[in-house]
Amino acid sequence: MHPTPPSKPLRAYGDREGDGMVQLSFVLQVPPSARAREAAKRFAEMHGLKEPLVATMELCAEGYSYFVVYGHSKHAIDVAEIEVPEIRTEALSREEIEKRIGLRLGRKIIVVGACTGSDAHTVGIDAILNYKGYAGDKGLESYKGFEAYNLGAQVENEQLVARARALKADAILVSQVITQRNCHKENGAALIAMAKKEGWRDEVVMLFGGPRIDHKLALELGFDAGFGPGTKPGDVASFLVERLCGAPAQVEPG
């Protein structure tokens, strides 16, 4: 892997550098025919694919065709020009996390999490908070340095806030799994708006997670960090430790 991004524009890599090979699959509301095949070809061309090959055209429902198309994408991208906020935290070891909380904070970090709105899927919040964890990485509940409260699913923002404030939470974790028509963004944005209106936004670290969430989106919505698919509990723990247990206090001379 390149230690620094190459400064030349990149094209999709198929078999040889610069060939721009891309595969695309889609459905058009037209039964298979020579015209349908041509329509798929032109549709692919409109997406910037040169010499598109309609590799598959099948009837997938009455009046609908399923296509697989290959083509050479003419687009190129200069990676060096891209700015993406990334979570800079390095994953700390369990021992390091426990040590820093113990030494620098001297008390437990209180975390309250929920899957909010009508979303009934606890899989994300459970993976991060519950003892069991995810992919062999145990959840925040398993750390001595964390006191984790998992409120489960279908929790209204008001309930989450009431509980978090009552527990004097250091951090709030919001999980959103269902993403139809952007309802995940609305729920998250509403929570941040509530925190700002009530004047405690800066007192609590607010994290956003889910399969369609990334750090950039979370920051845009006003969260402190966003965690996408594949996030392990240790990643969240490390971020919170970095944020809440900064460098050891400097002893003033004299």
């Binding site: 459905v27 009508s118 009934a120 069991k132 279908q154 993403t179 028509r181 399969p211």
Partner: protein, 514 residues
Amino acid sequence: MAQVPLDTHKVAACRAIASEIADDVQSYIDSHTSVGVERTIVRAFGVEGVDDQGVPLVNTLVERYHGAGVLGRGISFFLGRALLTGSRTIQDAAERLAFGPDVDTGEGGPSLDAVHAALRPHVDAAIGRIDSARDERMALKAKVRPGETPHKYVIVATGNIYDDAIQAKAAAHAGADVVAVIRATAQSLLDYVPHGATTEGYGGTFATQENFKIIRRAVDEATLEYGRYIHQTNYSSGLCMAEIAWMAAVERLDMLLNDAMYGILFRDINMCRTFVDQYVSRRFIARSGIVINTGEDNYLTTADAVEKAHTVLTSQFINEAFALRAGLKEEQMGLGHAYEINPWLEDSFLLEIAQAQLIRQIFDRHPIKWMPPTKHKTGDIFFAHVHDAMFNLVGITTHQSIELLGMFSEAIHNPLLMDRYLSLKATRYVYTAAKHLGDEIEFKPNGKIAQRAVQVLDEAHDLLVDVKKQTIWEAIGHGAFADVKRTRTGGKGYLGVAERAADYVNPILDVLEG
């Protein structure tokens, strides 16, 4: 045919213990009712309507009598008295009770015999409506036969019932045998059933009686056009599980997701409420000939699929025991399980075969429901497609009855039309290519698969012993299932439970109980 070793004495012992566990709960059920149960009865009498705020009349009526502290008499008791004091129709009786100036306290008035006599024709009509829907289903199924098992089951979930109808037909065209309209995520916690056709919902579409009709019409068309009976499924779960069971019975659904404990564990619905509601829902289901699908597959999404495999089997024994107490036949019990072991684990495929075959043999008359991988699916759709193919191979080899097809886009979005098409195509390939594989092979008598099957049954037996010792109320409190802990009076809907009075009146339930 490939078989895993099965200690039939141990299986019998498991059934006996499950039976005792269910008996303990049944005595509670038999002395309680709930707002959900009583609303179901009012609906079954044919009462309809919502107010200008969309509140169903059955809710207004039952809440009023529950609020007055007299629901333990049975709402039928009050309906009967209204019939005896001037109401000529049951609809009028319900409206008078809901909106009349005074609540009937049940004091004095006609005898219980007179109340029962007044209700008699309405009870007959209610039961007749369920029976004729059942007969209509049987007649259509006799005319147009279902496809071969495992039945290919797919879900549609657009949020708009009219789009769902299009997608349901498309799925049938592509080879689906069973179509489920997945329900809006919020509905399980609503203590009322929404009314009318709906076009907005997140993560699914609301279960309403009108929506049931729209999908029934679409799949009936598909049945006749494609010459293969297409089954319709929905969800009898949550705080309205009994009402939805009745709606499904009269709208001629074929299957319902219906589980004795799912709501407790995964929706934090109160235990007492769930046990009472599941019983009555299943009484309607038993009468209507609907096949239930239980939810044990969910255990493996929150708990580890290797370590906790036996909890699935334990729960299946318990679900079976509850279902028997509600009058279901084994042929109506689609006990659920799933292919959720980490695919990168060595011999994970062997462990999956062991569990699937074990459950097939223990529940040999049951239309077992086999669920696809979800937990270990990622955004890599190409790998996910292979993962699903391996799942299909287990399904056909171990003769599962109903198979919910995996979707390669599981981790990304609700399935697109082409996702479903490709899944059905791949499944058709595996089913055809390996059709008699299970009849041709044998498992090594003391091999990994055989040993795993023995181990899972042993562990399930031990857990049943433990649950019985604790009682199920306590066992759930300690996280015996799915690592989820619930308390007896915690969770949603507890306030909707009422103790039955000694002279509780519920003649529809009496008929269903036979």
